[in-house]
């Protein structure tokens, strides 16, 4: 049957939950980052679903908002990966469990 | 902007194959179950575009034509043994590749190694979905088809990286890292260059751009020479054609990310390299050379034949550079992308914006476009020359002839030599 608002929201929710699980459970910092990216994408999806189906004169506001989340996600990914690489340079590991020293 | 209907729309009028397929689909519409007609339309569109344009062009222009033309550049004949004038050479190559043994090194990551060729082929087929072959002969006429092309052309980079990474071989890791680094740094100026086009035509859809060029009777290559230069260099960097084929540079890293491939897996990469080059030249023909329009001639000559001719014309440009230019080093390439092409693209954007603003504000009539064309061409030449001078291009103080000395003695310092540096 044709996909309505509930279907898109459901997919968004499941994606968010899996991204959340990945972010919390992965040992490698890059794995955590992947989880975060997935969560941001799920949010984008839900935003667009609402902007597409909800009443309201101008659905474009939802899409404008998604553009801003994409830019924030890109900036955040760049900085997080830079962080991971520089931590790797000092610690030779980016294993989330082992990174407990605050001193450089 | 509904595309203009051709003179006749009988089914036998092969000038627009759209009539034929629509007539066929209407007759089948009631026979097939409810949704199947759309699937059938998709299949017909795909088979038509592939059988008429992509496959023959890939084989006969990509493999045979390229080898013949490059042979001519090198003052030799090129393939003329297999079949009449060597025309069956590509088929012979394909058969040879198919029966060759496809080796997989023991320490390679088998899953990725098998996936990479498939992932390299899929985007190439997708690219042809958006290219308009005729007035209503475009497979998927979305309003963002230009952006679709740029987006899909980012996918083969990932599959090339996977291919190189999965071989677990030093040369291929070299090749894949180079390929990704170069593709990323050439995508930025490429997109900025295309932005100039979008600014002028005002639409993102390729069909819209073709119609714009048809109504104003001007080709965008005249209006935007810098954008064409940037597009050509950016695309030849992304497809790894010769001035920038460092990802599989034979003389340095054997075959880059294709080192361990053999048999049909290598064949797929080789075939799809040509496919991407064809897609890029089809895109350039649509955007820069006026697509299927030829100043009104398209009412008599079938538009898709005009389009195919222009694509092969642009493809000849790729062949020409491949036959004559040596290869740049990776750091020179990166420097060239960021220090030369990006500023040029930005300045071009500013120029186009002012022209567009002038055109819209003054509501000048459409003939002002020809003035813009003149201004842009002159500005392009001046800009390229001035910017290269700034970046240190001094051809006159490089000697082009060795010094000549009469007698054999010790070291001859530069100034006192008889010949001197011309």
């Amino acid at each position: 049957m044709t996909p309505g608002l509930d279907h898109f929201l459901a997919v968004g929710a499941v994606l968010f939950a899996s991204g959340f699980a990945i972010a919390l459970s992965k040992r490698n910092a890059i794995g955590v980052l992947m989880g975060v990216e997935l969560m941001l994408n799920a949010v984008n999806l839900t935003l667009l679903a609402f902007s597409r189906f909800s009443s309201g004169p101008r659905p474009v506001t939802g899409q404008a908002f998604v553009v801003f989340t994409i830019t924030v996600a890109a900036a955040e990914a760049a900085v997080a990966l830079a962080l991971a690489v520089s931590v790797y340079r000092h610690r030779e590991t980016i294993d989330v469990d082992k990174l407990n020293l605050l001193r450089s | 902007m509904a595309p203009p209907v051709l003179v006749t729309d009988h089914w036998y009028d092969f000038r627009d194959l759209g009539n034929l397929s629509s007539r066929l689909l209407e007759s089948l519409a009631d026979v097939l179950p409810q949704g199947a007609v759309y699937v059938l339309a998709a299949v017909i569109g795909f088979v038509a575009s592939f059988v008429i344009f992509v496959l023959p062009s890939q084989l006969f222009v990509g493999v045979y034509g390229e080898r013949k033309l490059i042979a001519r550049v090198q003052s030799r004949y090129g393939p003329n043994r297999v079949g009449p004038f060597g025309l069956l050479q590509p088929i012979a190559d394909t058969i040879k590749l198919m029966q060759k043994e496809a080796l997989t090194p023991k320490s390679a990551d088998r899953a990725l190694m098998y996936a990479a060729p498939a992932l390299f082929v899929a985007p190439c087929v997708l690219l042809f979905a958006v290219i308009p072959f005729g007035p209503n002969m475009v497979f998927a006429d979305t309003s963002v088809s230009l952006l679709f092309y740029v987006a899909i052309s980012a996918l083969p980079v990932i599959s090339a990286f996977i291919a190189g990474w999965s071989h677990n071989n030093k040369y291929s890791v070299f090749g894949s890292v180079r390929m990704v680094a170069m593709a990323i740094s050439y995508e930025v100026p490429l997109v900025l260059g295309l932005l100039g086009i979008v600014l002028f035509t005002g639409t993102l859809s390729l069909q819209g751009i073709t119609i714009w060029q048809k109504e104003l009777d001007i080709w965008l290559v005249v209006l935007q020479p810098i954008a064409l230069a940037i597009f050509f260099i950016g695309v030849s960097a992304e497809l790894n054609r010769t001035p920038t084929d460092i990802a599989e540079a034979e003389s340095e890293i054997v075959a880059g990310y294709l080192t361990e491939y053999s048999g049909m897996k290598w064949g797929l990469f080789y075939g799809m390299d040509i496919g991407y080059a064809l897609a890029a030249s089809a895109f350039a023909a649509t955007v820069f050379l006026g697509g299927w329009t030829l100043f009104g001639l398209e009412r008599w000559v079938p538009p898709w034949i005009i389009f195919i001719g222009k694509t092969h014309l642009f493809y000849a440009l790729f062949i020409w550079t491949r036959g004559t230019l040596p290869r740049l080093r990776i750091d020179q390439l990166m420097g060239f992308a960021w220090k030369f092409m990006l500023p040029l693209a930005l300045v071009n954007l500013v120029m186009v914006a002012t022209e567009r603003m002038f055109w819209v504000e003054q509501a000048a009539d459409d003939s002002v476009v020809y003035v813009f064309a003149l201004v842009n061409i002159v500005a392009a030449g001046a800009l390229v020359y001035a910017w290269s001078r700034i970046l240190g291009y001094r051809p006159e103080d490089y000697p082009t002839k060795a010094r000549l000395v009469e007698t054999a003695g010790g070291y001859v310092p530069i100034e006192s030599a008889k010949g001197g540096a011309q």
């Binding site: 939950a17 899996s18 699980a21 919390l24 900036a75 990966l81 | 990725l112 952006l147 980012a154 990286f161």
Partner: protein, 177 residues
Amino acid sequence: MEGVGAAVAFWTLAGVTLFAAAGIMFSRNLLHAVLLLILTFIGIAGFFVLLSAEFLAMAQVIIYVGAIAVLVLFAVLLTPRAGRDNGESKMLLPAVLLAVCLGAVVLFVITDTSWNTVPSAPAVEHEPKVAASDLGEALLSTWILPFELASVLLTAALVGAILLVRSPEEEAEDMPS
């Protein structure tokens, strides 16, 4: 959004995306996880097309698949001895439990409330088509301030990322001698 086509597209995309998301969770090799992440990005771009936001779908493919995924690949490349296995940390069990609860709560909320959507199913004719030009105008008219802020943020992130990753030699180079 004709009925049958959209439904078929929706369920296949949902299947592909969720399979890939689960794959990231359970795959053993980090690189396979990154490639599955790319698959999810493409799946989500497909969803955007279904929600008739084509410009955003293409932007998503360019930015996520073209740039961020390659960034992650490079990060994996630059950390060779940091273990390429996609292992779980000690927090595996609590993480999964928390995620499941969160998912359950949100799903319940979705199915329970009745959203006042646009009258009838998306098959309605005057489907609010948002062309790229409307989005452009919106970004530069009503949303001009966040647009400028976003560019400032991107520049800050750019400079920050470069500074973080400078190797000692590069720093020594720029140190005033």
